[in-house]
């Protein structure tokens, strides 16, 4: 049923609020993601030692820690609905696109919270040289948008399959490898101090393509 723009936005906002509230009540998704990120960061930090000069390794490790934290926890926005058998109820009150957009915004917020915790910790534990914040945050932000867009779509697909958890990482990762490659080389470039326009353009194009295609696909995620 087609609805007006403002009521759709209200539905998206309601889904986002509902997601945030139910996450806040249990916090198990957030706790798991933070715990996983900190644990993998610690594992990387003590096994690799101090890498202050090796910015190429630092950039790779940073994105791998972030990606793993994402893959370990991002599917739960949809899997939770399936496990609690609340998906049907949610679909009664909002259209598939509205639900997916709400979840996408929630995933973005979720990732931002994880990053706020991870980025300073990474810089301290790995004794990384100070980044050029403008370029660093641009790369991080664009990478985050792609991460959230792909996990929302894949999460919604995965929630309807057998073996949900295991498949999520395997199916998301190939979609995210171009992001990983561009983000790692962008992060490295800002530490070295060379231009990273190519990487930023690639990240923007990929994020826009993922988001645009997702918007067209959301309404096919569930059967009418």
């Amino acid at each position: 049923m087609p609805r007006s723009w403002s009521s759709s936005m209200a539905a998206v906002w309601a889904v986002l609020r509902k997601e945030c509230r139910s996450e806040w009540r249990t916090r198990y998704g957030l706790n798991a993601a933070l715990l996983f990120a900190v644990a993998s960061l610690a594992a990387v930090s003590f096994s690799a030692g101090r890498l202050g000069e090796r910015t190429d390794v630092l950039a790779a490790l940073f994105w791998i820690v972030l990606l793993f934290a994402t893959l370990a926890s991002m599917s739960h926005a949809f899997v939770r609905e399936t496990e609690n058998r609340t998906m049907l109820l949610l679909r009664l009150v909002a259209s598939p696109t509205e639900i997916a957009l709400g979840k996408l915004l929630f995933n973005l917020v979720f990732l931002l919270v994880v990053e706020v915790a991870i980025v300073p910790l990474f810089m301290v534990l790995m004794s990384a040289p100070p980044p050029r914040w403008g370029s660093f945050l641009t790369v991080l932000g664009l990478g985050t948008v792609s991460l959230a867009a792909s996990s929302t779509l894949v999460g919604a697909v995965i929630a309807q399959t057998r073996g949900r958890g295991a498949l999520f990482a395997g199916v998301s990762l190939p979609l995210l490898l171009p992001v990983l490659a561009a983000a790692v080389s962008g992060t490295k470039a800002q530490w070295i101090g060379v231009g990273l326009d190519g990487e930023i353009r690639l990240l923007i194009a990929y994020a826009v393509a993922l988001l645009g295609m997702s918007l067209l696909l959301y309404e096919h995620l569930w059967e009418d």
Partner: protein, 215 residues
């Protein structure tokens, strides 16, 4: 039946011509001949994956199982030709660059494409119910094809690669000896027909299987 023989004779004839008639490129020497095999395989990969994406989108639009059969068969064949392109490229890299695999941007890209469509097949295998499997894999196939042009065309042009550019899209011309060009075009056409023949076989098998299941 007739098609099979025509394709066989066509590819065999150009293969012989490629060895007996076409000259070798100075620096590449004998490895020139990988050109007649590697590039058509890479071209068929993109063609098959595009075919899969188009039929996935058509499935989402029309909800006709025939489109899903096409999409699934094309993804499998795309993966197969992608393996052919990867292996032939890797052998060539051993001869020219000294190692089978050294993460040149081209090698990285094609490896990501392999992973993407392996994930597609893994996803297909884990969904119960024909309609649901068709719908969800169509969604994934469309989003996966977003990555393919980036990997096949954008990334190798942004990052420095040692991979030779036979077909330079930016200059819009092909640097080739006329005899090499004839053999190369013949192989391109041959591989394209080979792909569509395999595709039609695969789709027919899927339909027969379904009919056997129903009856």
């Amino acid at each position: 039946m007739l098609w099979r023989w025509l394709i066989f004779i066509w590819i065999a004839a150009f293969m012989i011509a490629a060895f007996a008639w076409a000259p070798l490129v100075p620096v590449l020497e004998a490895t020139t001949r990988v050109l007649y095999f590697h590039i058509p395989a890479a071209w068929v990969t993109v063609l098959a994956l595009g075919w899969s994406m188009i039929h996935s989108a058509l499935y989402l639009w029309k909800r006709d199982m025939r489109h899903d059969d096409q999409a699934a068969a094309a993804a499998e064949l795309g993966l197969l030709f992608c393996v052919v392109a990867t292996v032939s490229g890797s052998l060539w890299a051993k001869a020219m660059w000294g190692s089978y695999w050294n993460w040149d941007p081209r090698e990285t890209s094609i490896f990501f494409v392999l992973l993407l469509y392996a994930a597609y097949l893994a996803l297909r295998g884990s969904i119960e119910g024909e309609e649901k499997r068709a719908r969800l894999s169509a969604v994934y196939s469309v989003i996966a094809f977003v990555a393919v042009p980036f990997l096949m065309f954008v990334v190798p042009r942004i990052y420095f690669s040692l991979h030779p550019e036979v077909i330079d899209l930016s200059r819009g011309k092909v640097d080739m000896d006329p005899r090499i060009r004839i053999c190369f075009s013949g192989m391109l056409v041959g591989f394209t027909f080979l792909y569509f023949w395999l595709q039609s076989l695969k789709v027919r098998v899927t339909r027969l299987e379904r009919r056997a299941l129903v009856s």
